[in-house]
């Protein structure tokens, strides 16, 4: 691909990301309501974690301040990482048949959807991640990364978390091509993501083989790993390599599934 063409393609996806951002910013009241709810739950969960860490100081390598910070970080990740199984619109488009149009476009379905989802994540980061974290900081006090290098490491890890989340949700959405009704797969995805990402409890509390599995599975890359990078309780390069590996695997599978969907897709109705 010649250089100028590559520039045009890049601009296309950048613009789609911008549209994704704008589309979601239409629902400002809904996003603020979400931020409010995330904050309330953050407060309730923080108290439970504080009680646990007061009974067991230093548990899992965290102190009380780390545990509270972890709690508000995970609440902040709900929006951008769609931890509670926000589905891509793609699944609906597969069901309605609109995906046929998407597949005809002279652009990759996967990159198109990804750009749109990144725009969404950027908007939700501003509206649903920042406020709960600030409230958490005001009410309980949270720890803050100590250097610009640490902040940038967290920034990269956060974006990687969103990428892994997208890679997973794209596979879930595309599964609709094969099983028509995405509700079952979605529900399974919600359960797996909720529990094994670190959203319910930090994964370093999980015992034995359950902990080993949770720490190796892709969902950890969405919540637990970026939170650990923020807290400085995990070695940065290892964390990024883990997230990068899962992002590559999931996006690779996604590309593979897209190629399969091109052949497989059956337009419903009509």
């Amino acid at each position: 691909m010649p250089a100028h063409r590559r520039g045009v393609v890049f601009q296309l996806y950048l613009r789609i990301a911008g549209y994704g951002f704008r589309r979601h910013s239409t629902y400002r009241a809904a996003a603020l309501a979400g931020a409010f709810t995330n904050t309330i739950f953050g407060v309730l969960r923080a108290y439970v974690l504080i009680a646990l860490w007061e009974a067991r100081p230093g548990l899992g390598g965290y102190d009380v301040a780390d545990a509270v910070t972890f709690c508000f970080l995970t609440q902040a990740f709900i929006g951008p990482m769609q931890v509670f199984g926000g589905t891509l619109q793609l699944a609906q488009r597969v069901r309605s048949g609109d995906v046929a149009i998407d597949l005809m476009r002279p652009a990759s379905l996967q990159l198109w959807t990804m750009a749109d989802d990144m725009g969404r994540a950027a908007y939700l980061f501003l509206v649903r991640s920042v406020p709960p974290t600030l409230v958490g900081a005001a009410l309980f006090g949270i720890t803050v990364p100590d250097s610009p290098w640490h902040w940038s490491a967290f920034g990269v890890s956060f974006v990687m978390g969103v990428l892994v989340s997208f890679g997973w949700r794209y596979l879930v959405a595309l599964s609709t091509c094969w099983i028509n009704d995405d509700r079952g797969v979605n529900a399974l995805s919600v359960i797996l993501t909720g529990f094994f990402s670190g959203m319910v409890l930090p994964l370093n509390l999980f015992p034995g083989w359950l902990g080993a599995f949770a720490n190796a599975a892709p969902w950890a890359a969405m919540v637990q790993v970026p939170a650990d990078v923020y807290l400085g309780t995990r070695e940065v390069w290892g964390a990024l390599a883990f997230q990068g590996a899962w992002a590559a695997v999931l996006l690779g599978l996604g590309a593979f599934a897209t190629a399969g969907a091109r052949r497989k897709v059956v337009i419903q109705g009509g």
Partner: protein, 262 residues
């Protein structure tokens, strides 16, 4: 009103059973989802004997009673917190011209078998936790009382959540903070929460009367937070008060309602 509710619920149930496998999978998935909360409690008690001064069985008792109350309220009336969507799409107008209370119509809309998930799952937890506690019969009578009071309180919270959506049509998720937030709050002993929060849910939004105060009686415990002893028998009063307030707010909402126009 009750007759209309049962008739409509039965109609929806029959409709959902046109696809029995789908309905049952939905139920199983709902139960699995709520079991995550129990898994969290199980993991926590893998690390400590007591949380906020309460043992695993006592916390499971709190979880079970709150869960059954919330599950029943959610099953019967939880759908009223989807009012915002009905207002936005204009379907609420149709409900207003039918000869059945709009509250009942909202509550029973899409009554499918998945709605039993929460109450069944919490019922199982409660049935396991109760015998472990070795309670005296002179105290167990409070359990059904607290479940009924909890049902009334959570239903009122759902009605509140619905009523504020007459005002905040675009932001229905705000209701979740109080409904699902209330459910989350009551899963754990109040001793883990801050003193201001506990005072707030005792005297302003009486969620402490769902299970915490009556459970102090059932478990025969002093109030660790030092509130008056008689509060543990006050659940029916609290439930009545919040129910009247919620009914009043719902009425105000309906009266103010001006449709969405076009």
């Amino acid at each position: 009103m009750a007759r209309a509710y049962v008739l409509l619920a039965w109609t929806w149930l029959r409709a959902s059973f046109q696809y029995p496998a789908s309905a049952l999978i939905g139920l199983a998935v709902a139960m699995a989802l709520y079991t995550l909360d129990v898994a969290a409690i199980w993991v926590i008690f893998g690390h400590t004997e007591r949380l906020g001064g309460f043992t695993a069985h006592e916390v499971m008792f709190l979880y079970g009673t709150a869960g059954v109350s919330f599950g029943l309220a959610d099953m019967l009336f939880g759908n009223v917190d989807r009012l915002g969507a009905q207002v936005r799409t204009g379907t609420f107008d149709t409900m207003l011209i039918r000869p059945v209370s709009p509250f009942v119509q909202m509550a029973v809309d899409r009554f499918t078998v998945t709605r039993f998930g929460r109450v069944l799952q919490a019922g199982v937890v409660l049935a396991i936790a109760l015998p472990q506690l070795d309670l005296a019969w002179s105290r167990v009578w409070m359990v059904p009382v607290m479940i009924v009071c909890g049902l009334v309180i959570f239903t009122s919270v759902f009605a509140f959540g619905g009523a504020i959506q007459f005002l905040l049509t675009e932001a229905p998720e705000i209701a979740n903070a109080f409904t699902y937030g209330g459910s989350q709050l009551t899963q754990y002993p109040m001793t883990v929460y801050g003193a201001e929060l506990v005072r707030g849910v005792t005297f302003i939004m009486p969620l402490a009367f769902v299970n915490w105060q009556p459970a102090l009686f059932v478990l025969d415990r002093e109030d660790p937070l030092g509130l008056p002893h008689w509060l543990r028998f006050a659940s029916p009063v609290a439930a009545l008060a919040i129910a009247l307030a919620a009914a009043a707010l719902w009425r105000v909402g309906i009266r103010r309602y001006r449709s969405t126009g076009s």
